[in-house]
């Protein structure tokens, strides 16, 4: 089995503290039928594995575990694939150590 699939990111996110701003996701994926190479790259590069393929083969984002690193912004914003902003003040990830 390759290493990547053996790492459970969900377990890692469990260590962190979050204040989720329910119903106000700070990242949005543009509607698409076939994902661009940039969107597909996000499936792997997002350190919190927020991006997933749905059963129609489209890329979806769930921001609850987002660590606000900005990597998907750097890759996906120039192509218009995603819209990225910061969560409202006080919401999102809250590092105790950082």
């Amino acid at each position: 089995m390759n290493v990547e699939t053996s790492v459970r990111v969900e377990d890692k996110l469990f260590y962190n503290r979050y204040l989720v701003d329910v119903g106000r996701p700070h990242i949005k994926v543009r509607a698409h039928t076939k994902p661009s190479p940039q969107l597909l790259a996000l499936l792997k590069v997002c350190p919190a594995r927020c991006y997933e393929l749905n059963d129609k083969g489209q890329v979806e984002v769930t921001v609850d575990g987002c660590i606000e690193c900005g990597t998907c912004r750097v890759i996906g914003e120039p192509t218009g694939d995603i819209e990225w902003s910061y969560p409202r003040g006080g919401y999102g990830v809250l590092f105790k150590f950082g």
């Binding site: 290493v3 590069v45 350190p47 660590i67 750097v74 890759i75 150590f97 950082g98």
Partner: protein, 435 residues
């Protein structure tokens, strides 16, 4: 709407923002600092090494009450292949000095302390407030900010953009470009907790002595990147970072890399038995001198990571951030004391002062390194570490082969992998970029 007008608004309470806000408040300016986190530091991630000299210039007696972890007495550099590492260690008793030069810190805790100093100096600090936009007048001059609180615009003579590497405001306002995938690294990091004595035994330390390990080689799987292990009092920071464009190209996952790094036979014993308490990620500006944007304009200056002021070769960032924040603030104080308006022409003194500091001088010295490392990542991060490791093993293993024969094998392995031209070319390019 906050009716009062401020002398300066600082966006961000990280290293650069705190340095700027503190310097201006101490000089009697009316400063408002806005931070989107619940408290200063709650959004920030670092290794982290604190360089005392740059903080001393801001808070001379910081050692009295800053949350410092360990002062560094040893630095290790490891070149790794999958099973071994070849290391250079520098350790000196001289670092057990009265005013140590470098410390490890925990950013969230450090920033909270730094922020308390900013408040004490008289600045108004508002957390849980995301700045959403810069406000400009009809001529395009920046005159304040808008936030996600319902208080409309807040006005100031000058806005200090200390918003960090992923600065949205500056890019949205077209003051600078968004960081490009080949100019930023993504680092992932975990905090591993262990009893103090265990950490001291694992790293050969006593008391508050500390050590850092910087590691490169096959751990980054041919991508431009480095791993790091920093000993704190009761925990170990461990992480790895690579250029975002490389992640994109290879399809490697950041957590996969970190996991492999943690399981490397040279690393695993250091964190054995630990309890993980946090998993974080952050970008690091890696573009160097050539990526520095316009640093000032009508009513604004930009400092720290937002201005790409980060020395990736030497793993220094927070000290450049603190220094640029302080210098920008001093420049603003100068303009104000002359009762001049905060125009681009008047604020250009910031750039002049920064050019004269180590910040720009160091970045300029290494201006060709980022490109060299990036275009040669396979050689520097895969081929050479493997070759060096094999050469070392060949050298230390005693098996009756005559030494001359061993040396020939080593030389041949280098030439076969890179050819004479390749080897000389790499050495030459490296020397020239380092110059």
């Amino acid at each position: 709407m906050i009716e009062e007008k401020f002398d300066a608004i600082v966006v961000g309470a990280g290293m650069s923002g705190n340095a700027a806000a503190l310097t201006m408040a101490k000089r009697g300016m009316k400063v408002l600092q806005l931070e989107r986190g619940e408290y200063a530091g709650s959004k920030n991630v670092q290794g982290a090494i604190l360089y005392a000299d740059m903080l001393e210039k801001l808070i001379p007696d910081f050692r009295d009450d800053a949350p410092l972890e360990r002062h560094l007495v040893e630095q290790r550099f490891w070149m790794m292949d999958d099973r071994s590492h070849f290391g250079v260690h520098y350790r000196s008793e001289d670092f057990n000095e009265e005013r140590p030069n470098r410390y490890t810190i925990i950013r969230a805790q450090f920033d909270k302390w730094f922020s308390s100093k900013v408040r004490e100096a008289g600045a108004t600090v508002l957390c849980e407030t995301t700045v959403t936009e810069l406000a400009r007048d009809a001529h395009g001059k920046v005159i304040g900010v808008r936030t996600d609180r319902r208080d409309g615009e807040i006005h100031a003579d000058v806005v200090v953009l200390a918003e960090g590497v992923n600065g949205l405001l500056g890019t949205h306002a077209r003051l600078r470009e968004r960081p490009k995938p080949d100019k930023v690294a993504l680092a992932v990091k975990e905090m591993h907790f262990l009893p103090r004595e265990t950490i001291e035994a694992h790293f050969n330390l006593k008391g508050d002595e500390g050590v850092v390990v910087e590691a490169a080689g096959t751990i980054s799987r041919g991508m431009t990147g480095m791993g790091f292990i920093y000993a704190n009092k009761e925990c170990i920071s461990i992480g790895i970072g690579c250029i975002v464009a490389d992640f994109q190209r290879t399809g490697e996952t950041p957590y996969g890399l970190l996991d492999r790094f943690k399981r490397h036979p040279s690393v695993a014993p250091l964190i054995e038995g630990s309890e993980v308490k946090e998993y974080s990620a952050h970008l690091i500006p890696e573009g160097g001198y050539k990526a520095i944007p316009q640093l000032y304009g009508d009513g604004w200056v930009v400092v720290g990571d937002a201005a790409q002021l980060n020395n990736a070769i030497h793993r220094e960032g927070s000290n450049l951030a603190m220094t640029s924040g302080r210098i920008a603030a001093e420049a603003i104080v100068q303009v104000k004391s002359r009762r001049q308006p905060m125009t681009a022409a008047n604020l250009s003194v910031y750039k002049k002062m920064l050019d004269d500091s180590f910040v720009i001088k160091d970045l300029k010295k290494h201006r060709d390194m980022p490109m060299l490392m990036h275009t040669n990542s396979q050689n520097f991060f895969l081929t050479y570490p493997q070759l060096v490791s094999r050469a070392m093993q060949n050298y230390v293993r005693v098996d009756g082969t005559p030494k001359a024969e061993k040396e020939k094998v080593t030389l041949r392995s280098f030439v076969n992998a890179r050819s004479w031209t390749g080897l000389f070319g790499d050495a030459f390019r490296l020397a020239r970029a380092w110059r």
